[in-house]
Amino acid sequence: MTNKESPIGLSRNQMAERAARDIPDGAYVNLGIGMPEMIAQHIPRGREIILHTENGLLGMGPSPEPGKGDSELINAGKRQVTALAGASYFNHADSFAMIRGGHLDLCVLGALEVASNGDLANWSTGDEDAIPAVGGAMDLVSGIRAVYVMTSHCTRSGEPKLVESCTYPLTGIGVVNRIYTDLAIIEVTDEGFKLVELSPGISFDAVVERTAAPLVDGRTETEDE
């Protein structure tokens, strides 16, 4: 499946905007480092979403204005952030008690691979020479009720990231509920991957071709393709 010409799907910003639309008002959410962080810029107006960052802040706000940041007010990606009205600070044990205890409604994470049974690999390529580093990924997937993945549908070299079973070391077993890619929104069900939405201009077949596991069409009404 490599080297196929990529169909044009959503941009990264559009993916973030689309994922943000599915986060309900009042949700407590952890956004993974990288692409998922962009969701914070796209929360629909009128919705109040409380962002958790595992290094000890609930009620995370946007980046500070230039020159107004505090090097000790950062997010898990070690970027400077702000704290909104109603925020609270806490220590690392309390922060992961929130995560592990199932108190967050949702996290959105990046992925190297997602398997059709919900297995997630997102912390290690298994490369002999790489420095192993896991951070909070395993805690997030084992503790948070709903785990969404936001990722490009394929790697830069065109390999599918949605697979029958992961080849990279696992982050968690059967943990992913939903996947937002540039091409589609796909749910992980007991029957495997189920398409719930295509990106504009993308055909079901184009997604099937770029998915290395069976894909059920779960759209409730047939859309123009």
Binding site: D25, G26, Y28, G46, E48, I50, H52, L57, L58, G59, A83, L84, A85, G86, A87, S88, Y89, F90, A93, F96, A97, M98, I99, R100, G101, G102, H103, L104, G143
Partner: protein
């Protein structure tokens, strides 16, 4: 918009169901959410398992809930009280069950329940009657017993100040079990003397972050349990 305010104690606790496990904050009268407990009496919910350090005073608050026949079982560390015969009478009559837990183990079990820790090894109670039936294991030459996390359907707690998001600060030693109970219950209901808008609390001083709280009920001047007992009040 997040606004967890609820108008009355009754409205806040009406979701309690028969046979629920209910954690109730307080150590003696300090931190006892007496208005919420009285509202729970009013709901008539029965067959409850109640987690509290004690078993109440006189015939108000927790003692009233017990006297009213709504509690099947108490999980607590110190069910004796100088001024209440409610629990002792029912216990001697075989009408209420008791799970006696050392106070620190009770606190740690609640904390574990809220933190997603299934079980832990503690040195407390090794070699005593309260170890009976529990698994022993040695670590680094010392003996520990296995204790399991404790969760609940509902927690009823009292705070001094809450904001609409449910961020809480407490009053002195009224804090006690409330912060951990808030983490261990599916639904946490708070009665607060002051209810403020988000931003009113210093984020460095928030003790219970709002994520653990579902409902906030303003009770501006909560009753003092000891004063009610002294006055001879019997609830309801």
């Amino acid at each position: 918009m997040i606004d967890k305010r609820v108008a009355s104690p009754f409205e806040a606790v009406r979701t309690v169901r028969d046979c629920d496990t209910v954690m109730i904050g307080g150590f003696g009268e300090a931190g006892s959410p007496i208005e919420l407990i009285h509202a729970l009496v009013d709901t008539g919910a029965r067959g409850l398992t109640v987690v509290n350090n004690n078993t109440g005073s006189g015939e108000v608050g927790l003692a009233a809930l017990i006297k009213n026949g709504q509690v099947d079982k108490m999980i607590c560390s110190y069910p004796r009280s100088a001024n209440s015969t409610v629990f002792p009478d029912l216990y001697r009559a075989g009408k209420i069950k008791l799970e006696l837990v050392p106070q620190g183990t009770l606190a740690e079990r609640i904390r574990a329940g809220g933190a997603g820790i299934a079980a832990f090894y503690t040195p407390t109670a090794v070699g005593t009657d309260l170890e009976v039936g529990k698994e022993r294991r040695d670590f680094n030459g010392r003996t520990y017993v296995l204790e399991q996390g404790l969760t609940a359907d509902v927690a009823l707690i009292k705070a001094r100040i809450a904001d609409w998001h449910g961020n809480l600060i407490y009053n002195k030693t009224a804090r006690n079990f409330a912060p951990i109970m808030a983490t261990a219950a599916k639904t946490t209901v708070v009665q607060a003397e002051i209810v403020a808008s988000p931003g009113a609390l210093d984020p460095e001083c928030v003790v219970t972050p709002g994520i653990f709280v579902n409902s906030v009920v303003p009770v501006a001047t909560p009753a003092h349990e000891s004063a009610l007992v002294e006055s001879g009040m019997i609830y309801p």
